[in-house]
């Protein structure tokens, strides 16, 4: 077994341990209400087991990271797979830091799934160790990426605690407009998480079934040398069955799917690029599978997901959750500013000769920074603690995820990695 395989196995071990630790956290929190036991003793005992599993999982993931580093000869944060696994590792580390301060084990119930979902999300991207193109050969790059990811990891914990606050405090019996909006917002947030899980499940499912379809599109473009207009044929490969084909494209081949042997629709003509059709198809698949998964879960628990989770949130102090959320964001903010802005500027200066170029990824890092700046200033104002700032922490993490994933999917730029 070579080092790269070794490293892959260590990641798998970490992933399994995180999953088990999540389940044990569930037992610790939900099992309090089981009969013939002392709830406090029960929670203490099982939370400790869960926490130990988390720590061993983190050690396994650090092993993955270091062995991959040696196998690749460079710090493994240079493509989407490596970055996402690094982020999930940072989230576990950030959780351990906040758990060490506040000792609220229910936090694990929310932090571990975020990390697990991110590792699964990473699994969708190509896992090979790739050789570095010259622009990526810089120590500042690694320092920039690692620091930014650590900051974002604390924002993720801020999000987890914020969401917990909302789930803990929202009133499921009240009929006021305010609490109805809150409930809708919570369901939507939970649905968004389910969409990511759905996306991971279907992409990996069709990947292992080796599904494929291919489309070509003829594009007029300027020849670099002669400057004349020439016709170029561009090809795109679908790994998900095409409901939607790229606009103005020809089907080369397509594996039939549930009796469907040609796409249902064509992408609207304003979506010109061949890849935008594929991305739109992926988004529709994700939303659909998320919807199915969401209603399955609802059928099982027979009430809104938020109400189902709220049952187990009793006994956790809401003010503490609010403070954990605030503290996590406050810890993350300087790290994020340092990594995503200052170190990024140093690297950009070394690599491109300009410390700032308004590249979409850069701009979105600034937007994230501005968002959390607003958050921190609003926390000083009366009436912005608790409910409102919890919502901000949830939206803030949405901004973070858009910066990390959405920008690559929707807006391409210098930072574009391989997309699905």
């Amino acid at each position: 077994m070579n080092l790269e395989q070794w490293s892959g196995n260590a990641l798998l071990v970490a992933f399994i341990l995180y999953n088990i630790s999540f389940i044990v956290y569930m037992i610790a929190i939900a099992g309090k209400k089981w009969s013939n036991r002392d709830p406090i003793m029960h929670q203490q005992r099982w939370s400790r087991v869960a926490f130990i599993l988390t720590v061993i999982g983190l050690v396994a993931q650090i092993t993955y990271f270091i062995t991959r580093w040696f196998a690749a000869g460079h710090v493994p944060t240079s493509n989407m797979f490596e970055f996402m696994t690094f982020l999930s590792m940072a989230i576990v580390a950030a959780f351990i830091v906040l758990f060490a301060i506040y000792r609220i084990s229910a936090l694990g119930l929310f932090a571990m799934p975020v990390s697990v979902v991110l590792i699964s999300y990473a699994s969708v991207f190509p896992k090979e160790v790739q050789p570095l193109i010259p622009a990526l050969k810089s120590y500042w790059l690694y320092v920039h990426v690692a620091t930014a990811a650590l900051g974002e990891a604390f924002f993720a914990i801020g999000f987890a605690a914020g969401l917990m606050y909302l789930l803990r405090t929202v009133d499921y019996s009240s009929k006021t407009k305010e609490s109805r909006n809150s409930r809708l917002g919570i369901e939507f947030t939970l649905y968004a998480i389910v969409v990511v899980i759905g996306f991971v499940l279907i992409t990996n499912g069709f990947k292992s079934a080796e599904y494929s379809a291919q489309f070509t599109q003829e594009v007029q473009q300027k020849d670099e040398k002669s400057g004349e207009l020439i016709t170029v044929t561009k090809t795109t490969n679908y790994t998900l069955p095409p409901f939607i084909q790229p606009s103005n494209s020809n089907m080369e081949r397509m594996d039939p799917f549930l009796g469907m042997d040609q796409p249902l629709l064509s992408a609207p003509s304003w979506m010109k690029g061949i890849d935008s059709g594929r991305k739109l198809n992926t988004i529709i698949w994700s939303l659909l599978s998320g919807l199915i998964l969401y209603w399955l879960l609802r059928l099982i628990i027979r009430k809104p997901l938020g109400a189902g989770i709220q049952r187990y949130m009793g006994g956790i102090d809401a003010e503490d959750l609010d403070e954990i959320s605030y503290r996590a964001i406050a810890i993350g903010y300087p790290i994020f500013a340092l990594g995503a802005l200052i170190f990024a500027m140093i690297w950009a200066h070394e690599a491109w000769g300009r410390f700032w170029g308004w590249d979409p990824k850069e701009t979105w890092a600034l937007i994230t920074f501005l968002f959390y700046t607003v958050y921190l200033h609003l926390r000083l104002s009366r009436g912005w603690q608790g409910l409102k700032s919890s919502w901000l922490s949830v939206i803030g993490f949405l901004v973070v995820m858009f910066t990390l994933i959405g920008v690559n999917l929707i807006i391409a730029g210098l930072h574009s990695y391989a997309g699905v």
Partner: protein
């Protein structure tokens, strides 16, 4: 309207004060019970004082944190809109008015018409940044001086209602150890000191305080941001900022415009990953993954004849430029940007052959900057004309297509033995292809049996392979920009990773103990700390019970 701002303790407070500067008694809602608003310790901000004239109104507008938040939020939203379509600066040589319409249709046309296609360079975006800058300065000045004064002269014994309306409160009896009130206070001093508090006592009252410096964090980070913003604006000044792209053919020093420098690309290298270095998935697909772009650069400074084509150059710096490893010399920066394969003759070692097959020379003939005369005893060659990229127009007249030596042609007037007194014209094409195409021998028909000019072999031809494109920059604002960044980080870390904590204790009637505590952040931490401190002094209280409003059982 006259407003009485004198507190019952006798202190005269400025208009706008919320909590008495001296004893902390709430001035405007004396009988409330809700936890106090402790921002800036309840001092009057500078902007709240006078009857406003215009300048006060401007000051008042920018001194509001609410306005600051709204400004940041507007910049945030505008920045998002700016990322919808690629900005104009991502294209070279494209007419934006046409591009946005043809690529994105009506939406693109509107986007361009609104100026959103150049959001970040637009006057309104800059104006927003300047407004944020103004807000940073005014918000800070408005608060920092009064806050400094308030924290610098704190009274130890605070008003009872000030203590019980803190967010962390304890009220109870002295433990039954028989200690007197002042003895109990003295017992607390070392416990608090061990936790790095600075402790001040006043009989039966105590004030413990730590990490006050963290209160200055926000102001320091604002100073950093102001330096940063100013430095960015400074780049608009002439001479502060330069950004140009130039091509450097191997072996030819090229002047860098607006500087005394010449840069020579001695050799350019591009390397690709070998098949073995690629992961198995990439192999056998003929994929070329670049590994290295490198320009061996020499930097010269011009010492004389700078505006002629024979400048005197002095080598000042030598460096290999790679991506991520720019050339740095004083203010000058040169980045590897692009390259192009450009196979061109740079110079030829030519010799003259007479009718007896006797060789004279060789001498070096440059295609970049040929000399006016070449003396090769016994011959003298005068360059009458030179065409770097020789061609004939439709009237059969020679002209040059470009200044790049792609098809060089030299027209010499040759004087020497057995040649006409006034000299003979000889046309020389260094490239064999051109020699055939333009029939050099026919053109030189009159002299070709008496002399020939040419290179003996390919070894005499010096060929350049690549043109390296470098991005030449100068940015005098950089040190200030990074200084601003560092100051900002120091301020943020000071303000966030440390918290200003204060604990006030007063004992009334020799046994009633009242404690109030305040922290700039992290209430969980201060409750735990206070609970530990009290535990050591014999008062047992759970951290959670210290929270104002939680029943103390």
């Amino acid at each position: 309207m006259l407003h009485n701002t004198k507190c019952e303790c006798g202190h005269q407070n400025p208009v706008g004060t919320v909590l008495c500067e001296s004893c902390g008694k709430p001035l405007d809602d004396e009988f409330g019970t809700a936890p106090l608003e402790m921002r800036y310790d309840g001092i009057a901000r500078r902007s709240q004082r006078e009857n406003p004239v215009l300048i006060d109104r401007v000051w008042r507008f920018f001194s509001s944190v609410k306005v600051a938040i709204i400004l940041i939020f507007i910049v945030l939203c505008v920045s998002i809109v700016g990322t919808i379509y690629p900005q104009e600066n991502t294209f070279l040589n494209v007419d934006p008015a046409v591009y946005y319409e043809t690529t994105y249709g009506l939406a693109g046309q509107i986007y361009h018409a609104l100026g959103l296609s150049d959001t970040y360079n637009s006057w309104w975006y800059k104006l927003l940044l300047i407004m944020i800058g103004a807000s940073l300065i005014i918000c800070s000045l408005d608060r920092v001086l009064p806050l400094y004064r308030a924290l610098n002269k704190q009274q130890i014994r605070k008003h009872l209602s000030f203590l019980v309306r803190q967010r962390v409160v304890y009220q109870g009896q002295l433990p039954a150890s028989g200690l007197s009130a002042s003895a109990f206070i003295n017992e607390l001093v070392p416990i608090l000191k061990k936790r790095r508090y600075r402790v001040h006592t006043d009989g039966t009252a105590l004030l413990a305080e730590k990490h006050r410096f963290s209160r200055w964090g926000p102001y320091i980070n604002h100073i950093g941001l102001i330096i940063f913003l100013l430095a960015v604006l400074m780049r608009g000044l002439p001479g502060w900022y330069m950004d140009q792209y130039s091509g450097f053919l191997e072996g030819v020093p090229v002047k860098i415009e607006n500087t005394p420098y010449y840069l020579e690309n001695e050799q350019f290298t591009v390397e690709y990953y070998t098949e073995e270095e690629l992961p198995s998935e990439f192999r056998g697909q003929g994929r070329a993954v670049p590994k290295l772009f490198e320009t061996k650069a020499i930097l010269y400074e011009c010492t004389a004849n700078c505006s002629t084509n024979q400048p005197e150059l002095k080598q000042v710096h030598r460096q290999n430029i790679e991506v991520n490893k720019p050339l740095k010399y004083k203010d000058l920066l040169a980045y590897q940007f692009d390259y192009r394969e450009t196979i061109q003759i740079r110079s030829v070692n030519v010799s003259i052959t007479d009718e007896n097959n006797q060789n004279f020379g060789p001498f070096e003939l440059s295609t970049i900057s040929p000399k006016e005369t070449y003396v090769v005893d016994p011959y003298v060659l005068t360059l009458k004309d030179y065409y770097p990229e020789f061609a004939l127009n439709d009237k059969g007249m020679p002209y040059t297509k470009s200044r790049a030596p792609l098809a060089p042609a030299f027209i010499f007037l040759v004087q020497g033995p057995n040649l006409a007194e006034e000299g003979e014209v000889f046309i020389y094409f260094p490239r064999d292809v051109d020699k055939q195409r333009f029939s050099q021998d026919k053109l030189n028909a009159g002299v070709s049996d008496m002399i020939d000019i040419g290179a003996a072999s390919m070894n005499d031809v010096d060929i350049s392979q690549f043109t390296s494109f470098l991005n030449i920059r100068m940015d005098r604002a950089l040190p200030y920009i990074f200084t601003g960044g560092v100051i900002f980080m120091i301020g943020v870390i000071m303000g966030i990773y440390w918290q200003h904590r204060r604990i006030w204790i007063r004992i009334d009637d020799d046994r009633e103990i009242t404690i109030g505590a305040h922290t700039s952040k992290n209430w969980f931490g201060i409750r735990k700390e206070l609970s530990d401190v009290l535990g050591k002094a014999g008062i047992t209280v759970e951290p959670k019970q210290l929270e104002n409003g939680v029943k103390q059982s």
